[in-house]
């Protein structure tokens, strides 16, 4: 088994490879040096090698999308902008925040800033705007969060190509059941304490949602204060924050096979974005959020730092690997579902995202 971990940072992409059961890692990079890499994705439907997608933004030369069919040894990019807003929108792409392979062959979705979804039918090389969401009447009220206004999460239904669940900050969760033509907000139960009405139809600042492909009606959410589960396809949400030291954070990751298992990285609060006590700890629930345990074996005692919304992921091996990167440029891996951790690499730029694949 070979495991590859893509690490997107503020100043480029690094790739860590392990051929010994994820015990040791060889790291290459920077790829796409001096670009911020908010989004990476592996499309495992391509053979024999997964396609690696990277959303890169140069401070000088703007955003683009590159792809590699040899795990980062060489990169391709079309001459024309892979993702660009149509003329009539008057909008310009700021950056790509998310890639998600769809359930149909060659379909790849991209979530972007400003708040929009694009769809590719050629495996992520070129994309078209999903008009139904862009034209949504709520758009004028989707305000930017601190990091910008973006669709940062896209969860295609694993078997029904018409169903797609997305999350945006701010705005919250939206669902389409007709392939993107129409969308409805799906935030019932998620609080927005920062609004006059704390229970709005939409406008929540949902930081991340996760779904288990084996149980696609179940979702988990890390909100801007609030941790939630939905058992009805995101229609309603219930708090699962009890047992966590804090209900604030950014990451939320679902185990690749066990629908009751999730991972989270709590921070104290909106106004104190450190883990409680400065102790680096991943929290895991194995009962769908009813209870939580701190996983700290091998993690630093002093950790005055944070983990961003896409900087935690799992692989699909058995036992599953769990990974996270920090704003101080460290990446940690567990090859036993979170029981023990070891550093993969340290002293990189701020880690913005990680994604892992095993072949």
């Amino acid at each position: 088994m070979t495991a590859v971990l893509a690490i997107g940072t503020r100043k480029g992409l690094w790739l860590a490879t392990s051929d010994d059961g994820r015990a040791t890692w060889e790291v290459t990079g920077p790829h796409h040096s001096m670009t911020d890499v908010y989004a990476v994705g592996f499309d495992t439907r391509t053979t024999p090698t997964p396609r690696l997608l990277a959303g890169v933004t140069s401070e000088h030369y703007g955003p683009s999308v590159g792809y590699s069919d040899d795990l980062g040894q060489t990169w391709q990019e079309p001459d024309h902008a892979p993702i660009a807003f149509p003329d009539d929108t008057g909008a310009a792409l700021a950056r790509v925040w998310q890639f998600a392979p769809g359930s149909e062959p060659n379909v790849v979705y991209a979530g972007v800033e400003p708040t929009a979804v694009f769809r590719s039918t050629d495996g992520g090389v070129t994309y078209e705007l999903v008009r139904g969401l862009w034209d949504h009447p709520h758009r004028e009220n989707w305000a930017p969060g601190f990091g910008g206004a973006a669709v940062h999460t896209i969860l295609p239904h694993p078997t029904d190509p018409a169903r797609l669940t997305v999350a945006m900050s701010t705005g919250g969760v939206y669902v389409t059941e007709d392939g993107g033509d129409t969308w409805r907000p799906s935030n019932h139960g998620i609080k927005a304490y920062f609004l006059p009405d704390p229970d709005p139809e939409y406008g929540q600042c949902v930081h991340k949602i996760a779904q288990n492909p084996d149980q696609p009606e179940r979702f988990y959410a890390q909100n801007h204060h609030g941790v939630y589960r939905s058992d009805d396809g995101a229609a309603t949400w219930q708090s699962i924050a009890e047992g966590l030291p804090s209900d604030f954070g950014f990451a939320m990751v679902a185990h690749p096979r066990r629908p009751d298992v999730i991972y989270n990285f709590p921070l104290v609060a909106d106004r104190e974005r450190f883990p409680p006590g400065g102790r680096c700890a991943v929290y895991r629930s194995e009962d769908a959020g009813k209870s939580w345990e701190a996983l700290t074996e091998g993690l630093p005692d002093q950790f005055w730092n944070g983990v961003l919304r896409d900087a935690m992921c799992v692989d699909t091996a058995d036992p599953a690997g769990v990974y996270f990167g920090t704003r101080s440029g460290s990446v940690f891996a567990s090859r036993d579902e979170g029981e023990h951790w070891q550093p993969v690499v340290e002293n990189l730029p701020d880690v913005l995202c990680v994604r892992a694949v095993v072949t």
Partner: protein, 94 residues
């Protein structure tokens, strides 16, 4: 009119590894017209100079005969025959 466009090293691979690109434009051409011609020949270059709305990238400077275009007419800056447009990334980032 014949315009000479000088590129920074980082952008030369987007224009066939040329340091200078010679471009022909009409007699009343502006900087925007020049970039439209570049978009036809080297779309991978042009999209790094301005976004899809036609707005110049904020941290790329365009010196038209030695003066930065934002001190002139921006993308509407008129060009003269044999003008030189020098593209230089600005000081930015951390």
């Amino acid at each position: 009119m014949d315009i000479s466009v000088r590129l920074p090293a980082t952008l030369r691979p987007r224009a066939g590894d040329q340091a200078t690109v010679d471009v022909q434009v009409s007699g009343d051409a502006t900087l925007a017209d020049l970039l439209d011609v570049l978009a036809q020949r080297y779309p991978g270059l042009e999209r790094r100079l301005r976004d899809e709305t036609g707005k110049l990238r904020r941290y790329v400077n365009f010196y038209v005969d030695g003066e930065e275009c934002r001190q002139l007419g921006g993308v509407a800056t008129p060009l003269r025959d044999a003008a030189e447009v020098q593209i230089i990334p600005s000081v930015a980032g951390g």
